[in-house]
């Protein structure tokens, strides 16, 4: 399976182009690192691929076909700030069940303590909450994962643990990944190849 975008451009209504002519492809089971200066549009690109935003120009294709606008989106995204990616008024069991309830073994693998599921988001640390967001994004119908600064706010040990678990799961299920980060050493440790933004875009 191949996720690709061709000549994507994005602009806010009435504003100048944020980026122009971005083309990129990620194959199943492959992890691609994306590095670029802040404000260049990396997160926006991720949001377009995951169906959260619409491009002004260009196309996103999964195996050569557009992704249907309804139903489970095969491209899921994990955001930098987990506290902003969950409903503060839901207990985490409900948040997680939005995609499906993972089996106990899978929770353990991501280092999730089942007691956390009965708590509110503000009762967990950022690292604990991020694991919940990852488990939610790794539903059985997920084919591609966009990891946007997924571990930037975590200490090195928590970062290494989360990445080892995610890489193992992605490998087993042949999930393709786009890893957006400013940390080149991290990108080189987890990715098969690393691209820089200036090589993707023409504008």
């Amino acid at each position: 399976m191949l996720l690709e975008c061709r000549n994507l451009a994005y602009r806010y209504p009435g504003g100048p182009y944020v980026f122009l002519g971005v083309s990129l492809s990620v194959a199943s089971g492959e992890a691609v690192g994306l590095i670029g200066p802040s404000g260049c549009g990396k997160t926006t690109l991720g949001r377009i691929l995951a169906g959260y935003a619409a491009a002004a120009e260009g196309t996103v294709l999964l195996d050569g076909k557009p992704i249907p606008p309804k139903g489970y989106h095969p491209v899921q995204m994990v955001f930098q700030h987990p506290e902003k990616a969950v409903n503060p008024r839901w207990r985490l069991r409900r948040t997680l069940a939005e995609s499906r309830m993972p089996e106990a073994a899978e929770l353990r693998r991501l280092g999730i303590d089942e007691a956390w599921l009965d708590r509110w988001p503000h009762e967990l640390s950022a690292g604990e909450l991020q694991r919940i967001c990852i488990a939610r994004a790794l539903g059985p119908r997920t084919r591609f994962l966009i990891a946007d600064e997924m571990t930037a706010m975590l200490d090195a040990i928590t970062q290494a643990r989360i990445w080892h678990a995610v890489l193992a799961i992605a490998k087993e299920r042949a999930i393709g990944m786009l890893v957006i980060t400013h940390d080149r050493a991290l990108a080189e440790a987890v990715c098969d190849r690393v691209v820089t933004w200036d090589r993707l875009s023409i504008g």
Partner: protein
Amino acid sequence: MPLLEVNNLSVAFARYAGGFQRRMEQAIVGLDLSVEAGEIVAVIGSSGSGKSLLAHAVLGILPGHAQVTGTIQYDGEPLNERRIAALRGNEIVLVPQSVSFLDPLQRVGAQVRTTARGTDPTATVRSVFKRLRLAEAVGRLFPFQLSGGMARRVLVSTAAVSAARLIVADEPTPGMQAEDVNETLSMLREMADKGSGVLLITHDIEAALRVADKVAVFYAGTTVELAKAADFAGDGSNLRHPYSRALWQALPRNGFKPLPGTQPSQDELPSGCLFAPRCPFATEACSAERPAIREVRGGWTRCFHAS
């Protein structure tokens, strides 16, 4: 004499867990730390290890229900509530962790000017903004109009325009691009070189090591090690505590090794060494008693087995 000296500091919160059940959460446990004038001390460690609470304890801005024991001395005298109220914003400044510390209804330029000292505060603000690549127009914006990286630089500038002797910077760099991280750190370094003391709280070990003189490693609310920045090198064998070594070896460029287990919860701290449940070298003695901090090879550590 150190500029800032923290001895055996503990901070606890009472939490109501439904009904009348009251549980004590021990957020900081017997913490020791000192900062000399002219020195940057980096504080690193996992999230939830009490790093920000230490900053808030020094600034005297802990929430009202916090129970604090131990001592904080500034310039050789206890830093009590009255004294910190007089020093805060003048001699002692905080670079807060979040933009939510700014007044949402005041333009940021005016807020930065409140800490500026010298004959011409406006000119001081202008030159610091220029160094941090903030356009002059940014001064006329309200906090909600700033991007994440801009907001960070505005927060840093509040310290840079001051003539503070002690700067407590709480995670000043995340979300900044590399050039801004470097500029921020070198500004802190210059302030230290002019004689201020800097407490730099961060989880970015590599950035901290570029400017820090000493590093304090926090785990579960206590200092497990105080090391020289130069001890963080190679495979980490100069470090004294197994947690410091694990943190160093978990960096992507140092092996990316994950350490199993999790930090103990604040309401169920182990009675012995706080790291013993995850420590590959733990013995019976470690779970029987909490190790005191002691001097080892020119640094300090809280481990029975360090030598």
